[in-house]
């Protein structure tokens, strides 16, 4: 039941884009509560997905409160996808006023010039489709193999030969806690042909700082996330080695750091 969803994703706004996002979330078994102001869409959503992982809720978007029926206070993330950037900004501000600034909100915007505005308003991530796609397109024009590889890296691994970006948490007691980034880099390369590209480190305020291609003498800490590129065929070995599945842990949001 949608009101019992926990650590789920709340998607506000239903359209073709939302559908594509949810398609990918469902692949990795995320629960998703879809909130729509179109009463006919609720049955369409539940029929389309046909799984208990996705449920829909109808409400008016005159103001962005009254989301208790989708248990928004226990969700992991809110993804807002409305018709205009203006409405989305309104949604961000009202949701935070109603449910607190701990609510993690991602939003898709049309005008990339507003990215900073949304960041200041408190979104976790703001995505401009044109800004991202333009790089992929430009890559296909003048660096076609980079374009091909970039497109692949964006896909979830479907076949063992695919290459994928993943992140793994360094658990307390892992052999590489206290070691350097360089040690981990060469270990992963030599034993699993997996490339370490960065580390994401939890901060006292609950956020995470991403270190891209850091110095090899960076000391690793428990709770750090290793960002890697690996072949799908090595995924099982990597999971066993880290001792945890890829991604942020389901308990991450409500645990202390």
């Amino acid at each position: 039941m949608i009101e019992q969803f926990d650590n789920h994703i709340v998607v506000i706004g239903w359209n073709d884009f939302s559908r594509k996002v949810i398609d990918q979330l469902v692949i990795v078994d995320n629960q998703v509560a879809v909130v729509t102001e179109n009463p006919d869409a609720t049955s369409e959503i539940e029929e389309y997905f046909g799984t208990d992982l996705v449920e829909a809720h109808f409400t008016h978007f005159n103001s962005f409160n009254g989301f208790e029926p989708v248990n928004i206070e226990r969700c992991r993330k809110v993804f807002i996808n409305l018709e205009t950037d203006h409405r989305e900004l309104q949604a961000v501000l009202e949701l935070q006023a109603e449910y607190g600034h701990d609510l993690e909100i991602d939003v898709v915007i049309e005008n990339e010039d507003l990215e900073e505005t949304f960041r200041v308003a408190g979104t976790s991530y703001t995505v401009s489709p044109d800004s991202i796609s333009s790089k992929v397109v430009a890559s296909h024009v003048f660096e076609e193999d980079v374009g091909t590889l970039s497109t692949e890296l964006l896909r979830a691994t479907e076949a063992n030969s695919d290459c994928e970006f993943q992140q793994y948490r360094l658990l307390e007691g892992h052999s590489h806690v206290g070691q350097t980034y360089g040690d981990l880099f060469w270990r992963l390369k030599r034993e699993y042909n997996t490339i370490l590209l960065g580390v994401s480190r939890p901060q006292p305020d609950g956020s995470r700082q991403l270190h891209r291609l850091p110095d090899h003498d960076l000391e690793l800490q428990a709770g750090d996330y290793a960002i890697v590129i690996t072949h799908g065929e090595h995924e099982e070995q990597i999971v066993n080695w880290f001792g945890i599945d890829e991604g942020i842990t389901h308990a991450e949001k409500f645990d202390s750091v």
Binding site: F17, K20, V21, D23, Q24, L25, N30, K77, D106, V108, E110, N111, E112, S124, Y125, V127, P129, D130, S131, I132, S133, S134, K135, V136, V137, A138, H140, V141, F142, E143, E144, D145, V146, G147, T148, L149, S150, E152, L153, L154, R155, S161, D162, C163, F165, Q167, F185, K189, T194, I195, L197, S200, L210, R212, L213, I227, T230, H231, G247, I248
Partner: protein
Amino acid sequence: MNNINRSQITTLVLLVLTGLVVLLPRVESGAEGANINHIGDSAWYAVVTLTTVGYGGKAPVTPTGKVIGVTFVLASLGVLGLLIGQIGEAITSYRERRRLGHHGYEGRGHIVVMGWNRLTRDVVHQLLETERDLVVISDTQSDVDEMHETFDTDQVFPLYAQYNDFETLAFGNLKASKRIMVGIEDDTTTLLSMLNLKRKLPDANFVVDAEHENLIQTFQGAGVEHAVSTDWVASTVVAGLIFEPDAADFIRDLLTADPQGSGDGTDIQEYRITPNHTFDGQRYGDVFETLVRDHDIVPIALVKKQDDTSELIRLPKDDVRLEAEDYIIVVLHESQEARLEHDVFGVPQGTLD
């Protein structure tokens, strides 16, 4: 007054004046004190009068000749204005044709971008970094005006053309281009334009941005080498940001250009291994160590190019041998970009050369 009428009137006026120039010496010839005795005199008198110079050296003396003279005087009011107007129009028309790109682009090996919108604007800004010449085509004149204001026309050649008008599109010298990127907002228009272009330019290399992911295979079937769905790319990043936010944020950083050139971000680039380069013939594992330890960049893939085919090897095994004309794909800090071209690979990034 439309152009056809203006042209006809101009012709008529010129014919009448020419007739009067021929008639005048016949009328004046033999009269006492006459100084317009042949066509040369008459033509000189006509020019001096019509241009309002009026030297006074030649003038009709007979009544009929004076009537003709009055006609020239009255005509001078209009002829000069007409001529100046025509010249002005020709200059304006010439400048307008140049502004719209209809004088034609003569370069070769350039990149063509069809469509002017938020996405293609971003793509053009990124392609400018490659220092390739660009021809950018729009079917809206105000877009062309914007391009002239925004870009240095030494590198960007704006062209106003309808997407299915091959005659005007030819001003962009599409046949000699290296790649054609089609980013028209409507998928149907894009597909129709593609099919027409592919018929005329069967050897051209196309990259297409499609709104709907389900048309990607259609475009590929139509002969497009690379078709990208904006919605699919963005939705995948969004889903990634929810599930694996740091990995997705990293990819987003790799995929997002740094137009301000702050050098703070990371990038993914590819470089050709030239013949006799130190990497030519080396094991991938050795090259990997050299690039990581000595240059702080991280290789992630290799591309072996043979004739018209290429093989993308993701995370190659260490014992793969690099050969001349292979491409190596690396991840690096943007601040190192310039150094790589000059100090490491000796060639600019990319596959267009």
